[in-house]
Structures are given as structure tokens and as C-alpha cells.
């Protein structure tokens, strides 16, 4: 498949935004449960606002993928059958709920609605935040299933795709949360950075497992089954179009093996290995190191998503063996 830049931006930006919210919302619960100490100044509203901004940027990027962005609202219609339609519903739902959380946190409207047990006060923002978490989980599944549900794109058609999207989104979100916590001199820094290391490591393991899985994949289709001629030697002499067609432009990339190899090694090092090392050496005062870790990880995840497209082999390419 040819990488679609807008889709690469969409999936990485919303992944980070979702992970960022999960980081701060989970930290809030650990504070409520008394496991983590509360920060001196609660900036989780601002962090959640950044999360909404990332989701919004992803949404804007996705519009560049459409031929008719003005009709995008129609895309919510087929949620019974289409994962893309479900994503179109889950993304604004998550944005609205996070925005509600932000407004409650930043305004004076937030108040305690119930007390769990004896000493755990639950405010409206916590309830709305829980709704946001559900929407975020749904969004992770919908986004990944758009790719994983296409059964003849064998490199994508795997539960690993869903797991990878979830882990990589959360990893980048927690890395960004570490940078924010370090900047704000937040006592919860150790939680964020610990989780960021754990998630980045887990993401690396499963992404590497996916690379190994995909290396051994063999398509059940061949040129023989594509045209139904059962002879071992078939050579295409004409594609039916001299100047290329949508089929050659949208599905066949022209990157050489060395570029693809560089991207693969690049995303493994930039997206996972270097951030792991940087997060490992960082402490509460090393805002720069954490920011660098996030910036490199995001670049690495852009490369990862690019490679994700390159990796997928579309069976329609069998009909386009050579340009003629």
C-alpha cells in the first residue's frame, strides 16, 4: 500500500492524544485512592485540553484524505457495518467528553457528586472523564479495526494491529505526560515515566512480534489465481493503461528496498529504543530529556505508521506486474 500522509498523521496524533488523557486520568484515580501524592497545582485540565487539541489536529488531518470533506458528516451513517463509520462517531464523542472534562476542571462548576467508601470523593469531572476513557478505548479499537478488518491485507488482518495501535498510542501519551509532569514539577512524574517505559517496551515487543509474523506471511493469491490461468510462467505485457491508473498510483509505492529497510530500523530505534534510554536516564528535573524523548518517539511512530502501509501487500497489485 502507498502510505497516506493524512491517515498517518490522524492515527499518530489521536493515539498520542488518547494516551495523554489516559495518563492523567489514571493518575487522578491513583491520587484519589491515595497511592500517588496530589500535585501542588492541578494542571490536568490543561493536559486534557492538549489531548483535545491533538485529537482535533488528527481530525483536521483526516479531512485532507477525503475527496468531499463537506460530506464528512454522512460517514456516521453506516456504524452497523463499517469500522470507519464507528471511528467517525467515537472520535467526536471522545473529543466532546474530554472537552467536558476540561471545562469542568478549568471552571468552578466541578463539584463532588458522591463519596465512594468513606474517603474517596468523586467529582463530576471524574464521572465525565470515565466516559471519556470508555470513548477513548472504543476509539482505539475502531481506528485499528479499520485496518485489521480487511482480511486480504494479511499484514493488517491480525489482533496484533489493535494491540499495537493501543500500546503505541498509550506509550507516546505517557511519554508526553512525563514531559509535562517534569515541566510542572509534578510528584506523579515517577508514575508517568515508569508507565511510559513499560508501555514503550511492551509496544516494542509486540511491534517486533508483528514484524516477525509478517515476514513469514504468504498470500494465498497469485497471478495464477488472479486471472485464473494455471501456468507457472505468466508475464504481463499490458496493464490496460499507458500512463498509469488509480490502481498504480494508490496501491504501488516506488520506494526501494533500502528506503523501506531504513524506515523499519529507523522506527524501531527512534520510536522505541532511544525514548526508552532517554526515559530511563531522566529524572523530575529533566524536562528537556523527556521532551526530546517524546519528540523522537513521535517521529519514530510517524515512521512506524508509514512502514505499516508499506508493509501491507494489496492483492490488486498482482494485476499490475509491470508498467506498459
Amino acid at each position: 500500500m502507498k502510505p497516506a500522509i493524512s491517515v498517518i498523521l490522524l492515527t499518530t496524533l489521536i493515539g498520542t492524544g488518547q494516551g495523554l488523557f489516559l495518563a492523567f486520568y489514571s493518575a487522578e484515580w491513583f491520587v484519589l485512592l491515595g497511592i500517588l501524592r496530589p500535585p501542588l497545582n492541578d494542571y490536568s485540565g490543561h493536559a486534557a485540553a492538549l489531548s483535545v487539541l491533538l485529537l482535533a489536529l488528527g481530525l483536521v488531518a483526516s479531512f485532507f484524505h477525503l475527496g468531499h470533506p463537506e460530506r464528512a458528516w454522512r460517514a456516521a451513517a453506516m456504524w452497523r457495518s463499517s469500522w470507519l463509520s464507528r471511528e467517525v462517531i467515537a472520535l467526536p464523542a471522545a473529543m466532546l467528553l474530554i472537552l467536558g472534562y476540561v471545562l469542568l476542571k478549568l471552571s468552578a462548576m466541578d463539584s463532588i457528586v458522591l463519596v465512594l467508601g468513606e474517603s474517596i470523593p468523586i467529582s463530576i469531572s471524574t464521572v465525565v472523564g470515565f466516559g471519556a476513557v470508555l470513548a477513548i478505548c472504543a476509539l482505539f479499537v475502531c481506528t485499528a479495526m479499520i485496518y485489521a478488518c480487511l482480511k486480504f491485507l494479511r499484514q493488517w488482518h491480525s489482533p496484533l494491529t489493535v494491540l499495537n495501535f493501543l500500546l503505541m498510542g498509550c506509550a507516546s501519551g505517557f511519554t508526553l505526560a512525563s514531559a509535562l509532569a517534569s515541566y510542572s514539577q509534578d510528584g506523579r512524574f515517577a508514575y508517568f515515566v515508569g508507565m511510559a517505559i513499560f508501555l514503550t517496551l511492551a509496544a516494542l515487543i509486540f511491534r517486533f512480534a508483528t514484524l516477525l509474523r509478517n515476514k513469514g506471511l504468504r498470500s494465498p493469491s497469485s497471478l495464477q489465481s488472479a486471472i485464473g490461468v494455471h501456468h507457472p510462467t505468466i508475464r504481463q505485457i499490458a496493464q490496460g493503461a499507458m500512463g498509469g491508473s488509480f490502481n498504480t498510483r494508490a496501491f504501488i509505492h516506488s520506494y526501494g528496498a533500502s528506503v523501506v529497510r531504513l524506515a523499519r530500523r529507523g522506527f524501531l530505534v527512534l520510536g522505541f529504543v532511544i525514548p526508552l534510554l532517554l526515559l530511563q536516564i531522566s529524572d523530575e528535573s529533566s524536562t528537556l530529556i523527556c521532551s526530546l524523548a517524546f519528540a523522537l518517539q513521535y517521529l519514530g511512530l510517524l515512521a512506524e505508521r508509514w512502514y505499516f502501509f508499506i508493509e501491507a501487500e494489496h492483492p490488486q497489485n498482482l494485476y499490475y506486474q509491470m508498467i506498459s
Partner: protein, 243 residues
């Protein structure tokens, strides 16, 4: 249930592209708007086509055969492009099984083209919507056309009658008979899409005929040499009579 489809005989297709040009001509002139051409007279001509003919060389020189392979939407019975469409612009008509795109609903997200293993869909660079073969649905039920012309235009234009149109769910249709009599097959059956369009395979077009196949060696007529009388050189009644 009706499932209209094409059956394409690879044995008779000569790769003349008449189906390609007639398809383009009919469908670019229709009410759905033109099918764009980009650089039609320049170095990299390209554009929207519902149907293309590809050519393949099978075998090793000098023992080769050229297979011309017309390729269009196969109107799958279980079309993978339809459920993925987020807007419902892609749909399969229950009444005749044709898979269509509603150009007014399509948002041009290209997701259906990812979901089609055959590469049968393409985006129109001008209208920015997904387009594909409609099986000339605007001809099939048009009562202003003579009944014989209520067929896809590619079928009518094929000079070798390599394209057969009909209901493949009706065992008495010409298309169904062609499939069952000539070993019609589907493309990439491994994906379970059940394409409605079928292809008829290449067949041997020559057979060895020996003398004894034509005339039995123990033919009693020949044995007793009582064959038909040889033509005579004398004038016969036919020659001399004026009719």
C-alpha cells in the same frame, strides 16, 4: 434472486479494447457526469475507466499464448467493498445484485478501494468520488431502447461475442449455460467474495483429425466400390433446359 453478471470468454477475446472505449463513451456521456481524462494527448495519459483490458503472455517463448484479460467490477455476491463504506454510498441492489456507488453520498475516502482485492474501484480525479462499473444499469431497464440493446454496452460492442450478459442465478440463462458448459470460473476464489462475473478458460482450438476419423476403413460402400456415380461430362437436362 436475480444476479446480473458478465461472463467473459478468454478464449475468444482478441484484446481489441472495443469494450473499453464503448464503456468509456457510454458512461462518460451519462447523467452521472463525465469520467475525467487527464493529459489525454500528452506524455502520461490517464483517466477514469470502468473497464480495462490487460494482456498476459503465458508460457516460455516460443511456446507462448497471449491471454487478453478484460477487467472490471465483478459485482461480487458478497462484496467486501460494501460493508466498509461509512456513508452507505456503496450498495448492492437486492433486486438484481448490481453493486453501485451513489455519487451524491460518496465522500471519496477510498476505503472501499482498499477493501476490494481486485482493484475494481477508482477515484475520479475531477469529481473526487469513487467510480466503478455499473453494468450499464442505465441501459438495462431503459424502455426507450430496443429490447435487444438493453444490455451493457461492452457486451453489445464486443466484435467476437466474448462477453455474455445474463442472470447467473437463472440456470436457463445464456450466462449460466456458458459457465456450466465451458467451465466458467471466478477470480481469486480464495477470498470468498463470490464474484458474480465469471471467466471462461482458454481451450484448445485445434484437434488432430486422421483419415480414418472421416472415412471408416471398413466402410461397406467403399469396400464394394459402389460409391455415388462420378460426374459425367455429357450435357444433362439441367444444362440444356431454360428455367
Amino acid at each position: 434472486m436475480t444476479q446480473l453478471a458478465l461472463v467473459i470468454d478468454l478464449n475468444t477475446c482478441v484484446g481489441c479494447h472495443a469494450c473499453v472505449t464503448s464503456c468509456k463513451e457510454w458512461n462518460t456521456s451519462g447523467q452521472a457526469g463525465p469520467m475525467v481524462d487527464k493529459n489525454p494527448y500528452a506524455a502520461e495519459p490517464t483517466g477514469t475507466f470502468f473497464n480495462r483490458v490487460q494482456s498476459f503472455e503465458v508460457g516460455t517463448f516460443p511456446n507462448t499464448q497471449t491471454v487478453h484479460f478484460p477487467k472490471s467490477c465483478l459485482h461480487c455476491e458478497d462484496p467486501p467493498c460494501v460493508p466498509v463504506c461509512p456513508t452507505g454510498a456503496s450498495y448492492k441492489r437486492p433486486e438484481d445484485g448490481i453493486v453501485l456507488v451513489d455519487y451524491d453520498k460518496c465522500i471519496g475516502c477510498e476505503y472501499c478501494s482498499w477493501a476490494c482485492p481486485y482493484g475494481a474501484r477508482e477515484i475520479d480525479e475531477q469529481q473526487k468520488v469513487m467510480k466503478k462499473c455499473t453494468l450499464c444499469v442505465d441501459r438495462l431497464y431503459d424502455e426507450s431502447l430496443p429490447e435487444a440493446e438493453r444490455k451493457p454496452v461492452c457486451v453489445l460492442s464486443c466484435p467476437t461475442s466474448a462477453r455474455i450478459y445474463g442472470d447467473i442465478h437463472d440456470p436457463e440463462s445464456e450466462a449460466s449455460k456458458a459457465i456450466s458448459d465451458a467451465g466458467g470460473y471466478q477470480l481469486m476464489p480464495e477470498w470468498g467474495t463470490a464474484p458474480a462475473n465469471h471467466y471462461l478458460p482458454r481451450r484448445k482450438v485445434s484437434i488432430a483429425i486422421h483419415e480414418e476419423d472421416l472415412q471408416r476403413v471398413d466402410n461397406p460402400l467403399r469396400k464394394e466400390d459402389r460409391g455415388p456415380r462420378k460426374p459425367t461430362t455429357r450435357t444433362t437436362l439441367d444444362d440444356s433446359t431454360s428455367w
